[in-house]
């Protein structure tokens, strides 16, 4: 078990964006467990003024994409433009990329380069269970997490680089393999995300969430 941190450890609230799919209570519990005050919201005003955002999601690409479109997306972009930190999780991570191919092409938020494609069918789909990261970079998100740690995945689509090279630039922070290697963790500046569910991934997942909050709030206090 991870030590329960002081709940008031971080000055600013973490805002969990509710894009209408899935149950966010256990994500909120995990964030509180690692010391982050957090609020689940659909309110564009709360989103646009946030310093630390989490965008979760489960299921298919399109429903949460359509929920975000409009006021919530504008608020999210405005927060990002003003230097907010953002962590996408699972489908929330996929939404950060240029495009999703689930049920036809859907534009993503374009905050990370790449396209979200179906995993090959020579392995069981959906990809459900614990899988291992490889090719991790030395990003602060992985501080204290042993290389090759396992995380809990539930998905059938995954982000890929658009060129032949898997990591055309430095945005791919770690890969995992299910049928093919895919982008399991990515980041560009303050925009970060994981294909797996850190809130369900035991001590390694809690460490990753804690590292994200550390990053976001350290930056916040130095602004």
């Amino acid at each position: 078990m991870t030590e329960l941190n002081d709940p008031s450890q971080f000055a600013a609230e973490t805002i969990v964006i509710d894009a209408g799919v899935g149950n966010l209570d256990n994500l909120a519990r995990a964030l509180r467990h690692v010391g982050g005050d957090c609020r689940v919201t659909t309110d564009p005003q709360v989103i646009s003024s946030a310093k630390c955002l989490v965008l979760p999601g489960v299921g298919a690409f399109r429903p949460p994409r359509e929920t975000l479109r409009g006021a919530m997306e504008e608020a999210l972009r405005s927060a990002v433009d003003h230097g907010a930190w953002l962590l996408g999780i699972c489908v929330g991570f996929q939404l950060l990329f240029d495009r999703g191919e689930e049920f036809g092409n859907t534009d993503g938020l374009g905050l990370l380069p790449g396209v979200v494609r179906q995993l090959p069918d020579d392995v069981p789909i959906p990809h459900i269970g614990w899988n291992q990261l490889h090719d991790e970079t030395s990003h602060a998100l992985f501080a204290g997490i042993p290389s090759g740690s396992y995380f809990y995945f539930v998905h059938s689509f995954a982000p890929h680089a658009t060129s032949d090279s898997l990591c055309p630039d430095s945005t791919c922070l770690a890969r995992a393999t299910h049928g093919v290697p895919f982008i399991a963790v990515a980041g560009r500046g303050r925009i970060l995300g994981t294909q797996f569910h850190p809130e369900r991934s035991g001590p390694a997942g809690l460490s990753l969430l804690s590292n994200f909050l550390e990053l976001a709030h350290a930056a916040d206090s130095s602004d």
């Binding site: 078990m1 209570d25 069981p124 291992q132 090719d135």
Partner: protein, 269 residues
Amino acid sequence: MTPASGSTKLTGLTNRIIPCLDVRDGRVVKGVRFKNLQDQGDPAESAARYAEQGADEIVFLDITASPEGRDADRDWIRRTAEQVFIPLSVGGGVRRLEDAERLLRSGADKVALNSSPIDRPELLDELARRFGSQCVVLSVDAGRWSRPRPDSRWQVVTHGGRRPRGIDAIEWIVEGVERGAGEILLTSIDSDGTKDGYDLELLEEVCRRVSVPVIASGGAGRPEHLAAALKAGAAAVLAASIFHQGTYTVGEIKAYLEQQGFPMRESPS
């Protein structure tokens, strides 16, 4: 760098080991063939202990007799979710969308459904649409017909093994997946609690027919039984009494299975 990089293996996915906790009136219980229930402790404490041993997921089946009793004591789910950060599945008494929502709010990640979708299969579609297939587990108790039939080998049994439903178990599972179930929790009523091993024929047949993960349940007594179930195609194996009675720890089971060549997540130290 870890060895997976550049290797030829198709997936780094591991097989899951899932302790199952039958819960009645807020306490863990276990009986043989759903009878002779014995108190085996607090659900949250048990779940936390198994998570520390390296359990990949926990399944709770709430067998509290009355719906009122269930509602009165769901606090154990919340207490578990506040200290155990691996997937938690909860089944028992889910008849409507609102029942599932209440379980998810309490801290379940997945909801397991057993008898209610037999009466109203649309419930599976509704749950998958509302919460996503990843949180819909179809739990099927299957038993061999007392008089063998040419067209069907197993039938669906509900109500803790007491009520044969006269429905072919394989066809029901295929329909359940088409309707949106994201995983199958497959319990052999004939082998449950016997410690004689899983019903491997049943398991092989189900794994052949559906692509979603199948969790083998009912009959685990020795580590070899779990290995046989994984070999038969199960993505995950569920066991209860061998863990509750302390015969094996989750870590010991995982060490054995890893030795047998099944990929396992390392246990947290």
